[in-house]
Amino acid sequence: MKSTANHKLLQVIDLKKYYPVTVGLLSRQVGEVRAVDGVSFLMAEGEILGLVGESGCGKSTLGRTILRLEEPSSGKILYKGSDITTLDKERLRALRKEIQIVLQDPDASLDSRMTAGDSIAEPLVVHGVGGDVERNERVAELMKQVGLDPRQANHYPHEFSGGQKQRIGIARALAINPKLIIADEPVSALDVSVQAQILNLMMDIQEEFGLAYLFIAHDLAVIRHMAHRVAIMYLGKIVELADKAEIFAKPMHPYTQALLAAVPSFKTKAKKEVLLSGDVPSPLNPPTGCHFHPRCRKAFKPCSQDEPKLVELSKSHFVSCHLYT
């Protein structure tokens, strides 16, 4: 579970993704949804970065924007040192060989009219890798790697269970040997016992191929198990980013503290005081200054006026909070 290489695999600099809100027949813009509101971070080769947050925090949008499935509104994305933010279609396609995705809903992420084998082989077909025979062999190899029986390659998705469908999705993502996989809630739709199987599989694959994962989830226990480093997102911004052990032992941002306190604990039956009140505000109308200040029990004067910056407090522990600057 240790990170291997040290060079920058992925670097995101002040990335923003805003969606315009339009009204009327001529689509007049009246506002914008700030799904991703200035996010910066680094990922090394072979590292698992966990991205956690509640609904509306922008973690899924961030994943898709990095993949250029959504066009960034501003900011930069660098992959292996080169700027991919405004890459043209041809080179973008080549990039897709290196960065892949695993999605949440095993039912929806597979085309129900394609066999498992066809779905897994699709990346090979799209990028023109190998002929029929080589592709068949590769599909069989991949299926075995993810724990599926290669003889079921010509079965359709509805003939598989949820966990198996997710394995097909993972096999598809591995087909052309990516270096980075963006996993968007890959186990949230699965039963607990199946979840454990898929998490183990993802760990095994990560170790065997030295993959990096951007692991997006809302379940802190899963993140705790999987990630090397963790980033906490709130309303489009990263509020805290640190090594896993550090963030769980010494959370510094009040939101991180509240989030950790809110997770029902399995071992300790301590009665915790609920630290957060109110609901998550909408990204359409984020509060001024620090987005978290209306719900923060430690908010003071500058919080409603200035947005805090993400600052490195101790060795690779970043926090975005006025309490520490």
Partner: protein, 316 residues
């Protein structure tokens, strides 16, 4: 171990399994099967029936207005010489199992011949409408922007187009012809399909498997042809099955009011002839009427069954 697994070569064989899966689901719906059985019967009737029946255009005034087999009517003839009414009972015979019309034409033959017309018109006009509707729907959904807007406004206008008036105009200028009926229905009946296909395409675009395909690097063309169109195919099949009865009824209605083509014997034309004699020779109207009713019902049952079978959420 050699694996005959993935890749396009075995997809067709595997495709048979998918069709088989949907067939299994359709089979469980008894009404749909009944509908399918009737449609198959109708097709056989249309294809092979005319070899076994009389010539529907053969006129025979001696045998006019005969009732169907098993029925009898009274016929009163006034003899001008004796100033008396003589009443005779006329019974149906096997020569004309469904009776005859006012010109002595065998009704069974006419109905069988009408089946041909109804199915032909149904299939051709529906085919035109579906193809047009699908092209416009898919194009609209994929282009988005002003193209989408323009196409949809055009669809709105066509929806309100009085195709009936158009047909009256055409008939007035060019005379009666079956081809005009088919064209009029086909060229104006695509609007509902266009809307449905467009909305299904739009919704498919946001599904995760399309996101996954794009993430893999698939081009737009590949996404449309390999992912979207196959997924829209089931909708097209359902729409087609449910449109055919409407088209058949439209043709019947047009023929009924006299805009039809009298050189062909369609059910609508027989109905039109029979409406005036409902009290004396009811079988002329009832025959085609029942056939229309059963045909529409059969296509509707089958269409409903197919729609449920294709819908992954319905638990069959």
């Amino acid at each position: 171990m050699k694996y005959r697994t993935a890749g396009t070569s075995t997809s067709i064989r595997a495709g048979g399994r998918l069709a088989g899966y949907y067939w299994q689901r359709t089979r469980r719906n008894k009404l749909a099967i009944a509908g399918l059985a009737f449609i198959i019967f109708l097709i056989f009737l249309a294809l092979f029936g005319p070899f076994f029946t009389m010539d529907p255009t053969e006129v025979n005034f001696d045998e006019k207005n005969l009732p169907p087999i098993g029925f009898s009517i009274e016929k009163s003839i006034y003899d001008i010489n004796t100033d008396e009414f003589t009443t005779t009972i006329i019974r149906g015979t096997w020569k004309h199992p469904l009776g005859t019309d006012n010109k002595g034409r065998d009704l069974l033959a006419m109905i069988v011949s009408g089946a041909r017309i109804s199915l032909l018109v149904g299939l051709i006009a529906t085919g035109m409408a579906i193809i047009l509707g699908t092209i416009i729907g898919v194009l609209s959904a994929y282009s988005g922007g002003w193209v989408d807007n323009a196409l949809m406004r055009f669809t709105d206008i066509m929806m309100t187009f009085p195709f009936f008036l158009l047909l009256v105009l055409i008939v007035f200028i060019f005379g009666h012809s079956l081809i005009f009926i088919v064209l009029a229905i086909g060229l104006t009946g695509w609007t509902g399909t266009a809307r449905l296909i467009r909305s299904e395409s739009l919704s498919l675009r946001t599904r995760e498997f399309v996101t996954a395909a794009r993430a893999i690097g698939a081009s737009d063309r590949r996404v449309i042809f390999r992912h979207l169109i196959p997924n829209v195919m089931s909708l097209i099949i359902v729409i087609t099955t449910l449109s055919i009865p409407g088209v058949i009824m439209a043709e019947a209605a047009l023929s009924f009011i006299g805009l039809g083509d009298p050189t062909w014997t369609s059910w609508g034309i027989i109905l039109s002839a029979g409406q005036h004699t409902l009290d004396t020779a009811w079988w002329i109207a009832v025959g085609p009427g029942i056939m229309l009713f059963l045909t529409v019902l059969a296509f509707n049952f089958l269409g409903d069954g197919l729609r449920d079978a294709f819908d992954p959420k319905s638990k069959i």
